[in-house]
Amino acid sequence: MKISLKKKILDKNEECALQNKAFFADNNTFCVNVISSPGSGKTTILSRTVGDLKDRLRIGVVEGDIRTDTDAKKIRSAGAAAVQIETKGTCHLSAEQVTGALGAIGAADLDIVFIENVGNLVCPSAFDLGEQARTVVLSLPEGDDKPIKYPGTFAKADVLLINKMDLVDFVDFDLDRVINHVRTLKPDIQIFQVSAKTGEGLQAWYDWLTKKADAKQPKDD
């Protein structure tokens, strides 16, 4: 006997993602899921973004790591609410874990919530967390072949931050190759070339974020 089901797999994650999406819409909070390899500079970018925008926007960060709350501490010292999710071995965040963390950072009162995913260019891309935008960070020392090797992650991104631009003269990284390839995977992707260390190029990223956050209805203070 055969039965036809057509049932979604990972439907639990999808249900929680829809809940999160509704939460962000109801509270006029703009949520960005940040994905990259380990060591690309996600935490440094977010710490700097928090520091530079905290007088203008209320920002909170959900940190995902396999172990330790090192990243959450860095974000708190930059001046934003942060909650650490320790996945204890799992290679990605799930929507359910994010749901639990939103209360802890008071996400309902925030303008922007960043979710810093576990450093990994494969698995996180398969899990919708309910975010409104997905940002991938690629740093120069990782090499310019990453979009070719991990196309799924880049094809689903809304923004690409090419980080560590201060090293452009010291590493072999063909910027045109990366930009052209990523645009063939995702024609309308926003690409910003930045250095979280020197601050180069970050203003364009801030402008994009501010525009997105302002497009939401103002909160009742």
Binding site: M1, K2, I3, S4, L5, K6, K7, K8, I9, L10, D11, K12, N13, T90, C91, H92, S94, V122, C123, S125, A126, F127, I148, P151, G152, A155, K156, N180, H181, R183, T184, L185, P187
Partner: protein
């Protein structure tokens, strides 16, 4: 290793259906798109492990990969989009649109005849 989570989700769904039909599942077919990276070998292995000591133990998993459809804006060619070699296969143009990727679905379960 998100294949383990997917395997758990499949085993849960099959077990629920098995209880409903009061039958022993022997095979299941799932389908997936191109942007959710599933490795057949890893998923089969994870399924075998997760299925142990459940009603799904010994059931075979068939994984169907559904192509992602692209349409070239230059020559109009409709093609199966290859994310490892993006571009129109006919005219090599990089200007194209992509249809939504197929979701991860549990398509069908086969039960032992009573």
């Amino acid at each position: 290793m998100h294949e383990t989570m997917i395997a758990q989700s499949i085993v849960e769904a099959i077990s629920k259906a098995a209880a409903k039909y009061d039958a022993k599942p022997i095979a299941a077919r799932i389908s997936c798109g191109q942007l959710n990276p599933i490795n057949d070998e890893v998923l089969n292995f994870a399924f075998e492990i997760v299925a142990q000591d459940s009603v799904c133990q010994g059931a075979k998993l068939q994984i169907v990969h559904i192509p992602l459809k692209g349409k070239c804006k230059n020559c109009g060619d409709a093609f199966d989009f290859d994310i490892y070699s993006p571009g129109c296969p006919a005219c090599k143009s990089n200007e194209f649109s992509i249809e939504p990727d197929a979701p991860l679905l549990l398509e069908e379960i086969e039960f032992e005849d009573k």
